[in-house]
Assembly symmetry: C2
Homo-oligomer: 305 residues x 2
């Protein structure tokens, strides 16, 4: 049994309400500080408690993975829908200032600022990542968020390029205001995250102070991203589905493209709410601190701030 496995076991037992007596299970590695309590337990009662704790832990992990795979399925459905919409109904993609360049905008914002972002946000909730060494997962979290940010920036460049080439003013609609605020806050959050939680010179007290703000801002950015996506899809469908004499239907007549666009919006909402559900459930949070039995080791080896 590795040290990391024992740590996980101990933390998860604590989460599911296991008695301190249950910790004697790991007595080969951890001091049995609650021996007096354990002494009072009969062997049968102790066994029953262990069984219950184990079942409860398994159920919690199973529930997590159901929600996690649901979020992945919904995220995949969002990406498929937005690609299908822009490739099949909006004429595909180009980078020439035309409306085909614009088509990159919804695809990259939904893929980057929403789906990839959401997946990066819930990374620490995956029990598999709860070992002693948080650093590789922290680097993966930062990398996923950087990729999401880069896709979002390219998505913004797509719309600015198309607007400039077509003499359409930038940043006047509420959708664009919310979108640009989200992108600026996302970039700020990423830079602050690297500076505070990755750079070795950042003090532990600062990390502890700013972690709740980082987590809250993370959830808020997802809410902002949802609002930006929904208003953007709504606006786009009104722009392009005007109906005319050659038989094309208007938005209000709900042609197939309208149904696809609206369904994409509903999927985005569903994805966002599932991710926010995973983020808000404290039972699934990575433990705040390593158990006190394990000595703290400095950054770049093992750390948990």
């Amino acid at each position: 049994m590795t040290s990391a496995t024992v740590l996980n076991l101990k933390e998860q037992m604590h989460r599911v309400g296991a008695s301190t007596a249950d910790y004697s299970l790991t007595s080969d590695l951890f001091p049995l500080r609650h021996f007096n309590t354990a002494q009072r337990e009969t062997g049968t009662a102790l066994h029953g408690k262990r069984e219950r704790a184990s079942v409860s832990r398994m159920m919690s992990i199973t529930r997590f993975y159901i929600w996690y795979f649901l979020s992945m399925g919904l995220g995949l459905a969002c990406v498929v829908c937005v690609c299908l919409w822009n490739s099949q109904w909006r004429g595909g993609f180009a980078w020439d200032g035309s409306s085909l360049q614009f088509n990159w905008h919804p695809v990259l914002m939904v893929t980057g600022m929403l789906v990839l972002y959401g997946n990066g946000a819930v990374l620490y909730r995956v029990p598999l990542t709860w070992g002693e060494n948080k650093l590789p997962w922290k680097l993966l979290h930062a990398a996923l968020m950087l990729l999401a940010l880069m896709l979002s920036v390219i998505g913004l460049c797509a719309v600015f390029g198309n607007h400039n080439a077509s003499n359409i003013p930038n940043l006047y609609s509420l959708h664009s205001w919310i979108g640009i605020i989200t992108a600026i806050l996302f970039a700020t959050q990423w830079a602050a995250g690297v500076a505070v939680f990755l750079l070795p010179c950042s003090p532990g007290s600062l990390r502890k102070l700013l972690k709740p703000q980082h987590v809250w801002m993370g959830g808020s950015l997802l809410t902002l991203g949802i609002a930006a996506c929904i208003s953007g899809i709504n606006e786009k469908l009104f722009f392009v589905l005007k109906g005319n004499t050659n038989g094309s239907l208007s938005y209000s007549q709900l042609p197939a493209e309208a149904l696809l666009g609206n369904s994409l919006g509903v999927l985005i909402i569903a994805f966002g709410l599932v991710v926010l559900k995973i983020l808000s459930n404290h039972e699934w949070q990575r433990p705040e601190n390593q158990p006190e039995d394990v000595p703290y080791t400095p950054l770049l080896q093992e750390e948990n701030q």
Copy 2:
């Protein structure tokens, strides 16, 4: 010192991480079960811990009220903005099927489904409500949510009436899909909330099981409400600010009405995020259970499920 005051003090000391030894402060009312631990503390160290716990508690409550009053200020600003927009720029209100009837829609949805709803959601976070008897606050929570739901339903009637009188199809845009889903889920959440958490016949085990879902759905409804409001304001501004030869400006030229509408959208986002911040901070949550020292009393007298 009333029993409720002592309860609050004990719960809040626990939240701010006070040692069990600190509970001896309330030894006149609660058994000193941790006497052995307390014995090991010197008088000075104990006094220092109490001081720190008291300061920490005060700071936590102060932080709560800063965010709470910020949410109230932002909520008020949202209501003022949406009323000003529809009364001064959109021609005021009527109930005759005209566009003046439509004007009730944004006012009632923002006031009901967003601001009143948000205020009802954070009610249990106000430390003032943390006494032994939860029932009056539960009734106020249900009443605020019912009022929010009624305003939302009247707001929906306003838009359906206007659409029907003007032969405009209903429920085709993504905004309307998100809005109607939000309203249906809100009504379901209210009815389920009353059935599970207010009716005396509802078992405690069911309440315990469904409380996390009720809380999660509450936050999700706020996110849905934000997305519906943002997409609705964005859509309305595109509809009405088309610009024409008599000198009125289009949305892209950012006239005063566009600035007001966009600002309303930003205020709605800010209000929503502040409310979600308050809801997500576990430090400000009403304690899950009354301390075990206090006997549980049945529903309609004192209860805390």
